[in-house]
Amino acid sequence: MSFMDHLPILVVIIPLLTAPLCVLLNRPILAWFVSILSALISFFIAIQLVFQVNELGTISYWLGGWEPPWGIEYRIDLLAAYVLLIVTAIASLVMLFAKKSVEKEIPENRIAYFYAAFMLAFAGLLGIVATGDAFNVFVFLEISSLSSYALISMGKDRRALNASFTYLIMGTIGATFILIGIGSLYMMTGTLNMADLAARLPEVADTRTVRAGFAFLTVGVGLKLALFPLHLWLPNAYAYAPSVVTAFLAATATKVAVYLLIRIILGVFTLDFSLQLMPLDTLLVTLGLIGIISASLVAVYQGDIKRMFAYSSVAQIGYMVLGIGLATTTGLTASILHLFNHALMKGALFIALGAIAFRIGSTSIKDFSGLGKRMPWTMAAIVAGGLSLIGIPPTVGFISKWYLVLAALELELWPIALLILVGSILAVIYIWRLVEAAYFGKPNPYQYVQEAPLSMLLPLWILVIANFYFGIQTDFSIGLASSAASELSGVGR
């Protein structure tokens, strides 16, 4: 086997090995350097994997040469390759932004450990995407979760500790539910390989054990996903975590959980099972819609902008889940599109908030007064990201909402299409509050504020430009999303 054949495992292993290296080096600058290096290497591997998958189809990598279903299989299909691409791209950009932000927000003697935990979280997320083994998913999920608890607890405010503990409790319950689900499936089929599970499950689909397993898996992933009634850990965790962590987790962690949900519903179980034997479509559509409306409403009343965007994340997850719940190819396309697009916009918004926190030490709305003049580039980026969040053409947000409305109309579900638009209007309101404060408020005369440094503006504007570029050049993203969607629903049938 040549070096190129080992890419599916290298993309996970390189960040995983960087983590102990960060601790050994134990110098902030060196730890940062190896971290960004490994993020970039993973990014290039992910690009390479996308080319390989496009050319040769799904890659199946056998760990240690053991043939699946006995050995652990890493399986990179079209969707997995692109999720790897977006996670590694966001990680690289966030690492670029991280250097200055971390120097300011984390005590110097802990910076090396911070990067180590960051790399573990990164490796865990990549592992969840790359693996084709159900138990491996649980292990990587816990690697990424445990390190994100540690990362969140490093926030400056003491409320970060409480938020981190709440997340630990809810996250562990979610992961244990997933473990119970995997156990039930193993009991009935005797296999852990996802493709093998998919082949064996139809025989035993009509048993209570499999149904209970399915329910446990869905609820467990729902907790990780912050699906509407299970989202209570998310707003505080995002609001009080260090800026770098919020930017990274908001743009990647929930996306990987959505990917996992799609994998479980369509890849392991079939669409027929999920929808006909279990009432998953009604459940996901209802919870998605309640999530969109209620979280957007709560976002309007938030005094802290980081927390406001955290609530908006809960609402955006509602859109993704709604698309899955509609259970048509168009709906699924919309979900996958929104998975990428939301990573782009929330990545940009939280990096911008990080830049503001770097300069004024706060993300409270009253401190935004007059920032439009003081930090024009950063505020312009927030407005651009906000437009994308609302879904105004020609941003990426418009594309995914368009597809979602289209999917609802295909099924002649007018009320759902209407509620999607109501969600957008609520987004207009909370973005407007920010614009009003920043551009029409009076700057604080006693405060001297500079524009953010270039190392922060660069990743920020790369993401903002990506927001517009993929909003105009839609062939690439839509082509990918629809072919991934039909590939998945094709497996389902």
Partner: protein
């Protein structure tokens, strides 16, 4: 008569699971919450271990000439899960120690009350330019 021994383990699993889950939800003390969480996780370990066991099954590989084996794979899997559980408890306890340092309490209602005070302070306080970094 009902075949009790066959499902006995699973009854224990469900009882432990629900007991642990209840403690996590109902207890306000953070340490007790972690105890409940560990109990909850342990019940899943028993669940895995029970499903691999076949009555009369021998240990695989070790005993020669046996034809009925217990499945060793769930046991191996659960070793990994035990490690994860220990790590979770360790991280949880570490956070509780820091919560105790920061809040002077490990009772959920007291911590939440202090959080509300913190929220009110950040809402009302005049904007401060240079909040000292630790």
């Amino acid at each position: 008569m009902i075949e009790l021994p066959g499902i006995y383990n699973y009854l224990v699993v469900v009882f432990l699971m629900m007991a642990g889950f209840y403690v996590v939800i109902a207890q306000g003390n953070l340490i007790k919450k972690l105890v409940g969480l560990s109990l909850f996780q342990t019940s899943v370990f028993i669940f895995y271990i029970s499903m691999g066991k076949i009555s009369g099954g021998e240990a695989p590989i070790f005993v020669e000439g046996a034809s009925l084996y217990s499945n060793p794979l769930p046991h191996v899997l659960i070793l990994t899960a035990i490690v994860v559980g220990v790590a979770t408890t360790a991280v949880g306890l570490a956070i509780v120690v820091r919560i105790h340092e920061a809040y002077g309490s490990v009772e959920e209602d007291e911590i939440n009350a202090k959080d509300l005070v913190d929220d009110a302070i950040t809402e009302e306080a005049p904007s401060v330019n240079s909040r000292e970094s630790q």
